[in-house]
Symmetry: D2
Subunit: 398 residues, 4 copies
């Protein structure tokens, strides 16, 4: 039953209370402020960050590190679901993507200097970061396709390439990028790539434009297309060493997917709640909607799918905690293939039951759908994960 430990139960209660008191009532305020200053940090966010920090609801994500809260992946997963219910919540708890992934990457693969310079302010919530991996010109789901060049010249690396979907990079507070690119095109396929830290104020870094998701700009974070034109950084900015980009990418994946999926489950719970509330309050053809036609089946299927996806994700988290990310690989691929699709389906049903209200700004559903749909592509489309799962499944028979 994945009953959370007493400590986690306590944290759940605290987060739940914080959400009820501070997050939900301020979602509108937040987006009103965003309208005033698209890429700035909304005042309400900064205010609530202080509150969350003061309550110890801060950096709960970082496992196996003294800098984190000492929670396992499974333990944090429960909390992550709660935070995921509101799109403004994760950052307020300093637990938002891609920063958690970036912080974990620097924590695990960075050296002391890198940690001092970048991890510290990130953990303090003073700056934001982005992850520059995907490229517009190649099918980046096959990461060996990535073409950005990281060429060593003396004590510097010179970076050239165009990245897009660098999420968060539009924000004024975003100061640092982790960039993936080829240091050695002649090495074996999985040793060609490296990851490197690039401060966004380095000459040659150019934010070309914002990318919209469906019609949304996702301010105040946004998704940026970035050109890196002869960007020069000291060699010490490399993470872990040349040719180890894939190794880092692998290590980074597991927790990030747990987070994405648990947030998806939180979103799905909220959509199901909205569906039920709407079905309770509307009447059509002489009946309350919750007894009308296939509406009950929509509710029931959503409940079944959500609970299954949650159990699968918690199960994957526990495997990671017990056996490590490598052993849990198939399970991690499974949740990535399952949870975003489940979320799309649940929201889609909720939209249908909301009628036109479900596609406009009067509910969170359309906006949540746009994100959910994107999540089926982010970090590899479903098909890539399904193929990994099949490969691992077949291994025992070949």
């Amino acid at each position: 039953m994945f009953e959370p430990s007493p400590r986690v139960q306590e944290l759940k209660k605290q987060i739940q209370a914080f959400m009820d008191e501070h997050i939900y009532p301020n979602e509108k305020v937040f987006y009103e402020q965003v309208k005033q200053n698209k890429w700035g940090a909304p005042a309400i966010q900064e205010e609530l960050k202080k509150k969350a920090k003061a309550q110890g609801l801060w950096n709960l994500f970082l496992p196996e590190s003294e800098r984190g809260a000492g929670l396992s992946n499974e333990e944090y997963a429960h909390l992550c679901e709660l935070m995921g219910r509101s799109s403004i919540a994760p950052e307020i708890f300093n637990c938002s993507a891609p920063d958690t992934g970036n912080m974990e990457t620097i924590e695990r693969y960075g050296n002391d200097e890198q940690k001092e310079q970048w991890l510290k302010p990130l953990l303090a919530g003073e700056i934001r970061s982005c992850f520059s991996m995907t490229e517009p010109d190649v099918a980046s789901s096959d990461a060996t396709n990535i073409e950005c060049e990281i060429r060593r010249e003396g004590d510097e690396y010179v970076i050239n390439g165009t990245k897009w979907w660098s999420s968060g990079a539009m924000a004024d507070s975003c100061k640092i990028a982790i960039v993936m690119g080829k240091t050695n095109p002649d090495a074996p396929k999985h040793l060609q790539q490296s990851m490197i830290l690039v401060p966004l104020d380095t000459p040659g870094v150019k934010i070309v434009r914002e990318l919209l998701v469906f019609g949304y700009d996702h301010a105040p974070h946004g998704h940026a297309e970035i050109e890196y034109n002869n960007v020069r950084v000291p060699v010490s900015n490399i993470l872990l060493g040349e040719g180890r980009g894939f190794e880092i990418a692998q290590g980074r994946l597991g927790p990030g997917r747990i987070h994405h999926c648990m947030r998806a489950i939180g979103q799905a719970e909220r959509a199901l709640e909205a569906m039920c509330r709407r079905a309770a309050e509307r009447t059509a053809f002489g009946k309350p909607m919750y007894r009308l036609g296939s509406v009950p089946e929509s509710i029931a299927k959503s409940r079944c799918e959500i609970d299954q996806a949650r159990l699968l994700t918690l199960h994957a988290a526990r495997s990671m905690d017990q056996f490590g990310n490598k052993v849990a690989r198939q399970q991690i691929a499974m949740i990535k293939a399952v949870a975003p699709t489940m979320l799309c389906n649940v929201i889609d049903r909720a939209i249908q039951i909301h009628g036109a209200k479900g596609v406009c700004q009067d509910s969170f559903l359309a906006s949540a759908y746009a994100k959910a749909r994107t999540l089926r592509l982010a970090d590899g489309p479903d098909e890539v994960h399904l193929n990994s799962i099949a490969k691992m499944e077949m291994a025992q028979y070949l």
Copy 2:
């Protein structure tokens, strides 16, 4: 095979050529101009309207009227599909929703004065119109729920109510609304409602706000929430007579659905084309995408679904032409239940094959999806149509 007549084949060729020469190359221009003046008519549109009119590609939609082009529903359907491929095209041919439906309504149910005053400039493309039916506070898919009050006082009707999803009403050129509301709450259920013409500059008409669809504002037309506060119009503005709102709604439905569905099929064809082109040009995991995993099945299923939906829609159009809208009722309900869902599925596959490009502004897919998804709710959610189909199917067994 629904082989179009020679005249329609000729028109198809002309429209095809017009699309290739004038529409597709100007889609970007159009939206650039919209950015400059959100609710104004883009210059390129006005320019192309003149061209279309000059070529006789104008008002092709109006069947059984000397004001139209003399095309049957089936004949126009072929053309409508073509126009539907581009979201900017229908208005350029003066064939856009909801104006076609409104024009047809006035043509069929309006008196001479009403035709002179409103149909004439609408057919000339000088003004736009909206249709104010749906209300935010009730499940409007059950039209008996509609609450807007149309109260007679002497020689005037006084209108009070809030409507939303009055599409097109944000446009500066939108001058007239057809409003549905209750003239007689005590009459039998289907005789309570009436439709009335309300010029948008009448005192008491207030455009409250624009409604976004998945983040999109759908400028230059937009969707408006409109308050009608003690709006007074002469009694001569009523259409057909008090209590005949349902009768008009029924008559209006058939052609409108054919149009929506054929445009949906045009969109789906364009999405399939995009899917194929993308699959042809991208390589991943050592293979062109069109030979990768389930991509071929996505293409094939889309082709099968599109062709079936087209045949069903043409078949419904022919039934309407041959036997009238009443006899074709089940078929009309069927296409409304089938085509928008088909379109959602086809676009969704196209998005998946485009990866992140599919959800942002670099393809038309996300924007088309938002519209397609809305179409599953507009004019009644799928479930309402499915229930009508079932009811008619069951009739022979009860």
Copy 3:
């Protein structure tokens, strides 16, 4: 609307009447007789064959031949749907698979002697035939895999191989097989195979066993596994010539698929009818089933899917008639991918609405499902057809 011609309308009426008078009321009788003599021809069948012949409802399938009724593929399709409603009907009209395909094959590709010896008694309904293509040991959907050896020795061909799913071969009346095998393993891939006529009483032909479909034996026709051990036939038994097996297979495909699909549509109509009747007569939870929960949506979706599949199939038939099987290839692949799956879905819904009655011998549904499910594999699994469709769709972009 694919309005049938007056002649076809007249034939439809006749067949409809024949079905009502002779077929439906005798389905039970038929299967009772089968129980007495599994592989013999049931007396009722022979009796009704005479009646059908006398009424001219005989061999309606054969297009472009003076031996047939002079109906086009499209014309026959309408009739085929009607016959398909009952599993015992097609043979009574001498229009059952695989005999129609075999007769068409001999008519098109056989020489006069072959026609005299085999086509004549087949057209007279005196004997039955089977088609021996699929092999248990290879993925036969890729026909190049087929391994049966047809080796020339002097004036004879010597055949060695094991075939299964030779449908109809269990029947006592089955006298002739068309066997596909390799005459020249060294030829280019598509010229290796040939088709040859093998009388089933030739020494070396061994009916190994019957194959069950789900638990059904499909008596009185059955599906046989046949071993061909050094079976010797005169060289004159070859069809069309050595190496032309693929050519014949291609030519044979089109009409056979139209027939299969239209019969599938007939079955689906009957399942939908059963669904509606059941929904009309049962009450649960205080409501007639046709107003209960998702039952109306099941009915409506079935109607939508059936009508679409029918239109697609008629459209394919018309294309074949107008442009030939080659041009219509994509459409033929489409109906094969669409109709059997549609049928499975419709029957599955009907089963669900029938409850336990739907899976046992008290309705025709379970038995029909077993056949429908098999049809998704017969003549190539869905996936093979989907891939063909995709290939043809992509051709224009490569």
Copy 4:
């Protein structure tokens, strides 16, 4: 992770070994013997029952009773999955339906005399039992519809009614039925029904016929239609008391569903294994099937669905153990709605990958599908469970 306890792990190993050594290799033997004596107990079964008993792999299902093995629902669930992999296994471990449900019913609701007479030989595997609830003439999924009459006359109850789907009742060894019927048609709806023990050799009990499932007779157990004509049993045969039939039905449901679902998961695992093995050994279009088209996605989706259904079922079992069947009601409804459908989907994919082999007697798939499909109806169709889930979900919002 639902890690089983050491004791259960040990039992799993034993059962696994028993399956490998005794069950799988004897499946063919078993069904050969059944052919000789349809409704008798196959010798191999009786032999293996002794072996299982000797190893203590016997009656593992009965929780909270000194007669059982002392395993919780969750603990037994792990074992049940293993047994479920083979259709002949459950009875060999004396853990087959409906006997487990019947034994649990008598254990919980029977008096000492009833236990002595019927529970003892059932637990010893000496006799079999059936459950007579469903009736052909009413929608029995709404149990208030059940019409069988149980009328008291002096010291006897007189039973009149027709039941069908009394599974197991065709077997010679089946000696006792639990019959549900109305003792008091005038009582409040949920107090009208009672359950009563009826020895099958009582005068008036007539096995009318066997019911086939798809084409299968399910020998040696079968499904019977039974007429109860003026069947007289002593009043002491009533279970728990008059009017308590619903109460017993409720209590009986939970464990039975866990068992059904875990066996379904075992079947699904075996189908997935078959799918993978087939994909590993076949080649088509120049590729091993496991790398062909959508085959990998079929494998991956199956893995995802199986794991989710298992977690959901174990979770439901744990809830039952911790909080009782009443609290776990929604979860119990969820697994019944999820697992059988999941199993149908997984087997269907496996069939598709097996081609024609998948629908005939050469694999277990078609037979397993028939059972899985029936399981979507047994004990209430999916729709009934979905509606219960929705009702419980909505409760918090009404």
